[in-house]
Amino acid sequence: MLMENEKRIGVYICHCGLNIAGTVDVEELTKYAATLPNVVISRDYRYICSDPGQELIKNDIKELKLNRVVVASCSPRMHEHTFRKACRAAGLNPYLYEHVNIREHCSWVHADKKQATEKAKDLVRAAVQRVYYHQPLEIKEIPVIPEALVVGGGIAGIEAALKIANSGRKVYLVEKEPSIGGHMIQLDTTFPTLDCSECIMTPKMSEVGHHPNIELLAYSEVEEVSGSVGNFKVKVRKKARFVDEDKCIGCGVCEQKCPWKVPSEFEAGLGQRKAIYIPFAQAIPNIATVDKDHCVYIQSGGKKCGACIKICEAGAVDFNQIDQIVELQVGAIILATGYDIFDPSQILQYGYGKYDNVITALEFERMTCAAGPTSGKIQLKDGRIPQSVAIIHCVGSRDRNYREYCSKICCMYALKHGHHLRDRIDADVYQMYIDMRCTGDAYEEFYKRVSEEGVVFIKGKVAEVTDRANTEEEKGRLVVVAEDTLLAKLVRIPVDMVILCPAMIPRADATEIARKFSITQKASGFFLERHAKLEPQVSAMDGVFLAGCCQFPKDIPDSVSHGRAAAAAALELIDRGSVAAEAAIACVDETLCHGCGICEEICEFQAPKVIVKDGKRVSTVNEALCKGCGACAVACPSGAMSIKHFTRDEISTMIKALATVEK
């Protein structure tokens, strides 16, 4: 008969094919595990994560009356969940399970079989000793608010918002600019099909604007996020436009009459807008916005100008407007905050900002656009048509001095620009590249097509762009200096225009955003996904998903897919209706608690709170808010606070098991 407190532990050692068994002597390890106290069964298996592997565990739990399970296999980040589920299916509380990582942390990083096996033995011993102290934890289900928030109205955010809205769920879409559209709406054409970007984007934007399930909060920014998965509380600052959204009909008369000109963000600085403006013709919402930094009426404290107030027939201009804080409650959040463009003026030798005709690819994009500031005319600063153009790839990308990663889309848009230059003005085009990376559907074919159109490809990173002429031919022109590495020859190419392809970089406020949403960034600064391959749309924070370039540079199709994947993940959460709360959380031993409130002060999530109970001050933990980080337990002077599943006994026993070198 089973004694009441008898611990019956099953240990399972995975071969993972040869991934583990190639370096760790699994047979010896299995035999060793069998000798450890309270171990009832120790088995090895080729792939324990497989169905039959899991069945083995489930059967043992039932037949051998196991009440604790240890699996030594890959990283718990991979399969802890799998085996917890298997335990649960066999009627064992999933928190009576302990995972040992003998693949990523052992067999894959050590070559010596003897040493790796010894290490694996230590890790298994520590786990067996720890699992002894595991207690069953109650997994509580918390209802999920069936609404979602999407932050960022570029193509990824728009796709995500539409998918969720079309499934019948309410979505809030927060966009910090006056209009949604993101970078994509600034593009002229898209590679490799060369279809008009606006033509495919504006119907989507319009759908967002009219969708009954989408509440668009444009010109707004998220201020504060609290709560947790399923129950986020989000404060959004709706910035004052100084234009009444309900009254403005978007006629644009105010913009025509406004006398104050400002470089247009939408035109990438190539054109101008007014101090009161609608950023572009197809803006959603189609409402004017006052740029308060440049509006003379505001800057003069209402003493000067005021032309817009007078001209607006709808009486929409309202300089008394102030920022509003809107509070939202949502179950899931999708971050689609996009990217910034690397400022190429940092690379002094390329002369951006110094030479008029060194421009960025986005500026060129606006130049080729029929609705752009030059009405689609490709021209130099002085209005002449360039005879020859160099396109410099990898400006700030693939460069350890700036950004180590490849920005992924530049090769392709550089080809597109090359095509337009050949097609529209028959200019000589030089693509200055390191490697051509054309990996998408029909991308390689497009590369071939552009090559055949007479674009010259020079493999070599440009050393400098200069106006110092060595020859008569170079005089008055920009000279691109590089080594053609295929010919092993230094080249100096005189051109009229240089187009730079700058790196796509994390948003300037990415760190601030990451903090607000409690997510993490990668070394590159882009947001870290939970799993690079299997969960690229999920952040490390439960209930917060990632879409588009905020995670890593992407082209349009990838952004769209990513946005939809994030929507599916958010919907999965919302439609499930409830979410299992973290069970390994703080708890208070009321006999030890002094009610000093150090826990209350230290917690970032307002989980502990001191209350008066039977006349005594004592701390309590709000289980819905606690994330189980352990800060309170460490700070608690009396030892009243502890974290379930990471109790003093559990951690101490591991330390003792692993720190002690057996003589």
Binding site: W108, V109, H110, T520, R617, G630, V634, S638, I655, A659
Partner: protein
């Protein structure tokens, strides 16, 4: 002989460094197999006692690794970890342990190569440092005590118990925690004579305050009985509920087994005169360790040692300070860890004898008591005069060798259990207070042998009842109308300040009062 293979413990945050180690694995980046990773949810989950326990267990190196600042999954857990780590580093360095053995590093999930490199570097460096001396040291509590329960009952005269229950009626613990009764503890022990009496966590609730024994008609030494019973409990793995995660106890165990020379006198600046030839020793005790550990309470523990030196110097005494004196062993002994106590006592006795000390001055009543009563009882004879600083000052006042400037303050005085009921020193501190012009001493309702304990002893079982006791004592102090609560024990000060450290929104009664050590008050009354 096989080459020394360092054993390194890594406390790795689940979200970054643990994942970085996974990344290293996925990328097959090889690193030495000397490392053992313990997964924690956040580096902020790593408590000081985890690091000290790893050291005690023989780890040659310890790495606490978390997310880069700003990247914490829990917003600021890593910064909290850093704060605690700095405290631990100070303690580790005071113990004399090489700093290279205990490290903190931020390693992001993507930084697999950095993780591998960090391990390589650490293994290389620790290989040079050599094996941790704690690898081979005898772990506390492994040795069976020579005592049996029967011996204890005999030694402490517990057999004489009449079951009159005077002890329980007077016991301050019982007053707050009615489930605790000294009488029944003795009764149960006498009846069962088994292991069970040592299994009870309440065994560690006794404050050893001696309120009971002073009233016992049968002369039962209950605190001693308790203490010896605890030594049995300790051997079977029971140690009550240690406050501060048991870090202080762990540090004491490390100190007792450490071959390192401590660096505990960094606070000693040139303005204080000490002499290596003096035959008067100032036994500093654990105060230098309290400074970082209780920094969060703003205890300014070292003010006491500085004040003491100022007084001694003022009186023309340039005492000797032993840079490698160790904890007196009080807490170890009172929590049943006799082996650790004996190691410490042996070390201190040897050191003091070698230095040719004739007189020892204490600012800590626990050290005083332990040297005076427990060292001889365990066979460690020091053969020198022992004096608490209050006695020293009182003596000087009597001889009219000391004059004070006026300090116009109303004060009340807390008799520490060890100084009062244990050693019978009630008058000296009062004499000193009364000698300072302007000081008005107002006694609390419970004073001298009726004094109430500060609520915790040996940093163990500091529970809700301890806290209530402290609150009541502070209310009593406030009720006198005094502005300052003077005490002569650094631990009383820590405990009172802890009670007043009220961080929650829900505030209890107003118990705030200035708490000051007698030495600090005296030093401020000296014209220098």
């Amino acid at each position: 002989m096989t080459e020394f293979e360092p054993r390194i413990i890594v406390f790795a945050c689940n979200w970054c460094t643990y994942a970085a180690a996974d990344t290293a694995g996925t990328s097959r980046i090889q690193y030495p197999p000397n490392v053992r990773i313990i997964r924690v949810m956040c580096s902020g989950m790593v408590a000081p006692e985890h690091i000290s326990l790893a050291l005690e267990s023989g780890a040659d190196g310890i790495l606490v690794a978390g997310c880069h600042p700003g990247d914490c999954h829990y917003i600021s857990g890593n910064l909290k970890a850093e704060e605690k780590f700095h405290m631990v580093s100070k303690v580790v360095s005071m113990l004399g342990i090489e700093g290279g053995r205990v490290r903190l590093k931020w390693i992001a999930a993507s930084e697999g190569p950095i993780f591998a490199q960090t391990i390589k570097d650490m293994v290389d460096e620790i290989r040079k440092l050599g094996p941790s001396p704690f690898r081979t040291s005898q772990k506390a509590g492994r040795e069976k005590t020579a005592l049996t329960l029967e011996d204890i009952l005999q030694d402490t005269k517990a057999y004489y118990c009449l079951e009159c229950s005077k002890c329980t009626s007077i016991c301050p613990v019982t007053k707050y925690d009615p489930s605790y009764s000294p009488r029944t503890v003795i009764e149960n022990a006498a009846l069962r004579l088994g292991d069970e009496s040592t299994r009870d966590k309440k065994l560690f609730s006794c404050l050893g305050c001696y309120a009971c024994s002073l009233r016992c008609p049968s002369d039962v030494d209950y605190p001693d009985f308790m203490r010896k019973l605890r030594s049995l409990a300790f051997v079977s793995g029971e140690c009550g509920c240690p406050a501060h995660g048991g870090f202080l106890h762990s540090v004491t165990r490390l100190m007792a087994r450490s071959p390192y020379k401590q660096k505990r006198l960094d606070w000693l600046t040139k303005e204080y005169q000490t002499s290596d030839h003096s035959d008067i020793l100032y036994f500093v005790g654990c105060i230098p360790y309290f400074e970082p550990i209780f920094g969060y309470l703003d205890t300014k523990a070292l003010d006491i040692t500085r004040a003491n030196l100022k007084i001694l110097n003022h009186m023309g005494v340039q005492p000797m300070l032993l840079p490698d004196e160790k904890c007196c062993g009080h807490d170890a002994l009172w929590t049943g860890d006799v082996e650790t106590f004996q190691r410490l006592a042996e070390h201190n006795t040897k050191l003091i004898k070698e230095a040719g000390i004739k007189k020892i001055i204490f600012t800590c009543p626990e050290g005083h008591r332990t040297f005076k009563i427990d060292y001889p009882e365990h066979g460690f004879e020091l053969g020198c005069e022992l004096q608490h600083i209050s006695e020293f000052v009182a003596e000087k006042i009597e001889k009219k060798e000391l004059k004070f400037k006026e300090i116009k303050r109303k004060v009340t005085y807390q008799d520490p259990c060890r100084l009062g009921r244990h050693l019978g020193i009630y008058d000296s501190p009062r004499k000193v207070l009364e000698a300072i012009p302007g000081i008005e001493l107002i006694e609390m309702e419970k004073n001298r042998e009726y004094s109430l304990c500060c609520g915790t002893s040996a940093f163990t079982n500091c529970d809700i009842y301890s806290h209530e006791m402290r609150v009541d004592r502070l209310l009593e102090a406030k009720a006198t109308g005094a502005e300052i609560l003077v005490t002569t024990c650094p631990k009383c000060q820590i405990h009172f300040k802890c009670a007043m450290n009220n961080k929650g929104k829900e505030k209890g009664p107003d118990i705030n009062i200035e708490v000051m050590d007698l030495a600090s008050l005296v030093a401020s009354a000296i014209d220098s």
